[in-house]
Every structure is written in C-alpha cells, then in structure tokens.
Amino acid sequence: MDIIFYILQDAIEIGLIWSLMTLGIFISFRVLKFADLTAEGAVTLGSAISIALILADVSPFIATVVAFTGGFIAGIITGLLHTKLKIPAILAGIISMTGLYSINLRVMGKASIYIGDAGTIYSFFRNLIDQPFLAKTITTLLVVVIVFNMLYWFFGTEIGMSVRATGMNQKMARAQGISTDIMIILGLALANGLIALSGALSAQSAKSANMDIGKGTIVIGLASIILGEVIFGKRSFKNWLISVILGSIIYQGLVGVAIAVGIKPNDLKLLQAILIAFILAMPLLKRKVATKTNRTGVRKHA
C-alpha cells in the first residue's frame, strides 16, 4: 500500500508544478494552435534564472517573477519571428529554443547549479508546516490556483477572447477588427511565461537547476493535456483549464506507476514518445476502426 501512497504523493507534488507548464503548452498548442518549441528552452530558462538569482541573494519571490518575465520575453521573440518576419511556427520556435540554450548556459555559468541551504519560494510554508510534502503542495497549489483564476479571467476579457478567436479562425478574427499578429505574440508570451514559471518552481523544489530539465517538455505537456481532455472533457473554457491541470497530475501518476513496475527512468522518454504518437494517432485510428466495423456491418446485412 505504501507504494501507492508514494506514487500518489509524487504525482500531486510534481504534477502540480508541471501543470503550470502544461497550461503554457495548452495556450500555445490548443488556444493558439501554434506548435511552439520555445517551451523546451523556456523551462530551463525559468529554472536557471530563479536559481541564479537566489544564489545572488535575490528574494525567491522576485527571482520567480523574473523567471516568468524571462519566459514571457522568449515568447515575444518567437511571436515576432513568426508574425513580423513570417518564419513558420515550428522554425520560429526552434530558433528561440536554440538561442535559449546559450542564454541558459550563460545565466547558470555551468551545466548545473545548486542553492544548498538558501531559501526558496517553498521556505515560507516549510517553516510553518513540519511536513515537506504538505508544505510544498500548499505552496504550489496556491500558485496554480492564482494562475488558474487569472487565466480564466483573462481569456474571458475582450483581449483574451481575441486571442482565442485568433487561434481558432484568423480570417474571422481579422474581420472582427482583431490584430492577429499582436494576439499571437501576446499568447506566446503568456504561454512561455507560465512554462518558465513552472521551471522556476521545479528548480526551487529540487534546489537546483540543470540544462536537461527542459527536455521532453512538449511531449509531457501534450500528453497531460490529452489525458485531461479525454478524462475530464472540455465542455467550457473553465472545464478545459481544470482538465488540463488534472491531466498533468494524472500523467505524473502514470509515470510513477511505470517506474514502480520496473521501467528504467532512462527508457521513460522512449515510452513517452510512443505514448504521445499513439495518443495523437487516436482520432485516425478510431475512424479506421469505425469504418472497418461499418464495412463488416454492411457485409452482414448483404
């Protein structure tokens, strides 16, 4: 029974932190329908900035805000590359991601940094509550709840609805007086800001930052989104946002189970890749199966 308890605990702790990243991926991939690869660099950027600043004696709170801002700016750059310089979405993301690699190394100074005993954003509740899991989870949950409410509010405002309309139908958006360029830039900025914020929390939770933290971000994010959608639906925008957050926790739970049954952490990425390919192919597979049963159905009648 213990193992189940630990898997659950990890899923909540890690899943909540990554749910912020998943919300970012959700904004770029789902709301804007923009396959943005900046994400992989933005996670590392967020963790690098926050840890480097804490090491430089900046307050963890400010370090976290700056990390968000860093990701926000990275998103603006990808947006400008795409809208103003007409670079295809995927390439614009790859360019930002590649550039971020060097920037991240510069911010950290070396491939990985530790903060030792320095305080983090988690210290406040950790000093109040003598239970690491509870203290961490309350902190992250607080951030997630604030972010969720702000996102829900933002996407219901005139500008937020314009971002959503742009992602769904640019022709309609322009006809309704929406500057689609600005909405794409704004959406990507917000997305990568959240992704960097997630990196910042993850790094502070682990008390370290390293260059590898961003690897596989997009796959994890997409898999979490899809899991959330399938299990909890997307009837309204609010429902959709909640599904995405819960999807992230469930995904981490599945990863925990995979490791518990003996799959090596090094093989996880391959498993993730296969899983995401399978999930993305689901609609097509479903249709194929449907037509096949239809055909056999017809044959039976004939």
């Binding site: 405002t157 005139e158 609805m161 309609m172 322009r174 006809a175 309704q176 007086g177």
Partner: protein, 266 residues
C-alpha cells in the same frame, strides 16, 4: 459612402505574360449611403477580388478605396474592420467554432472599438445578444452558451450576419454568403439579410451567383465581366429587369460559355 476609384488588380505579375491575370481593370464605383447593391458576374469576372479589395484582405495595384470619406486603400484588414462588416461564402469562416454563441457575439460587438481587459460580457450585453438572436427566429436565443460549431451552416451564416451588423458597419459586404447553403436555407438567410439591411439602412454590397436573388434584392445591380463593370442599373430600371434581360446582357458581351455556367448554378 463607398467610393472605389480606378482600382486595378493584376495577379501573377511575376510570371510570364501568358499567365498574367487582370482581375480588376480600372474599376470605378460610387455607392451612396443606404444603397443595397447586388453584384453578379461569371467565375473570374472579378467580383470576389473587388470585395477582397474593399475588405482589405487584398491590396490593389492601383486606385483608391474610400469609406465615408476616409481613404482606407492601404489600411490593414483588421483596422479597416471598424468600418466593415463581412460575411464569407464558407459558413465556417465567419465564426470561431470552439467558442460559444455569446463569446462570438461579444468579440463581434467590439469590432469597431479597441479591445481592453474588460470582462467580455455583462448582463446588458447578454440581454442585447438574446434580443438580436430572437429576431432571427431560429430559436438561437436560448443557446447563448452553446458552441457555434454545433450549429448548422444556415444558422452559422445567420449568426455571422448578426456579428457583421451588431455594431452597425458603414459598409456590409456579403461574399456569396448563401452559395454554400441548400436552396431553402439560402432563402431563409437571404430573407434575414434583407430584413437586417432594411431595418438598419445599411450600405450593402452582395455578390451572388444567383441572378434571381440579384434581381429580387437591393436597389442597384452591377454586372462584372473580365474585371470591368459592364452593366449598372438602379431604381426603377433595376426593378423592371428580368432574368432574360440579364442573359441578353451576357450574350452581348459574348460570354456564352460562361453564361451556361451561371445557368447551371441556378
């Protein structure tokens, strides 16, 4: 209200001379406030290009477009949208499928104004949307929170029409907006169109393939051919026109083959 002057648009300019297509050839049209103009012409006559140049999704090679005295020739599409309401041919084009009816209407409601961080709806707005939807007589007023994607093509076009006109535009553009609908639905949407245009005294341009509709609606008719206005009638002259008259016009411009296409389209 709408002054189109000497508009020329040439496609495939960079290709060899044989491929050059002159879509519009020094077209000048002056449309008065409150005019409801129907535009007919065969495929490739330039009617869609004309609408796209007015809406700003295409820029002309030459000439100018003025709306209510303002030169909009080089204004970007989304900036020009403050003056223009548009309904496209494809029912999927005019609305955001994954957003609810009220969200679509809320976006459209701010068409002419700056979008800020105000919450998209209010009680008053919802009441206005309900009222407007009820006026369509399609039973949509009870489905404010439904996603637009669940509506039929005809319903979507009716909603798009509402979106294009909810914030009274200086010019309403209808780009064969009933061509993708079945005949019965097309007539319903046309009737709604006529009602909205008349009630709001909207300056309107309706491009259509259907000569009957072009004669039945509006107070002025334009016929385009090979990028030029070849026929222009308004008032009583238009009222007394028949399909035979229009066909004769087509004959005189020796476009028999294309006329056949138009007959088939009816």
């Amino acid at each position: 209200m709408l002054k189109i002057k000497d508009i020329t648009k040439i496609f495939n300019k960079d290709l060899n001379p044989d491929d050059i297509k002159v879509a519009l050839d020094r077209v000048t049209i002056d449309i008065k406030e409150g005019d409801f103009v129907t535009v007919i012409g065969s495929n490739g006559s330039g009617k869609s290009t004309l609408l796209n140049i007015i809406s700003g999704s295409l820029l002309p090679d030459n000439g100018s477009v003025k709306i209510a005295g303002i030169d909009v020739t080089n204004l970007k599409e989304h900036k020009r949208a403050q003056y223009i309401g548009i309904v496209f041919q494809d029912p999927l084009s005019g609305t955001a499928a994954n957003m609810s009816l009220e969200e679509n209407l809320a976006v459209a409601h701010r068409r002419a104004r700056k979008k800020g961080l105000r919450w998209g709806f209010s009680k008053n707005l919802r009441r206005l949307f309900k009222e407007k939807l009820a006026s369509l007589n399609l039973g949509l007023e009870d489905r404010l929170s439904h996603k637009i994607g669940f509506l039929s093509g005809g319903q979507r076009q009716a909603v798009t029409l509402l979106m294009a006109t909810i914030d009274k535009p200086k010019v309403l553009l209808l780009d064969e907006h009933t061509a993708a609908l079945d005949p019965k639905t097309a007539q319903t949407v046309l009737a709604i169109t006529d009602e909205i245009v008349t009630a709001n005294k909207l300056t309107t341009i309706m491009v259509t393939h259907n000569m009957k509709d072009a004669l039945r609606y509006g107070n002025r008719i334009l016929m385009l051919n090979n990028g030029r206005v070849v026929f222009d009638a308004e008032g009583d002259e238009k009222k007394n026109l028949t399909i035979e008259d229009l066909l004769k016009k087509f004959d005189t411009i020796k476009d028999i083959e294309l006329t056949d296409q138009m007959l088939l389209a009816n």
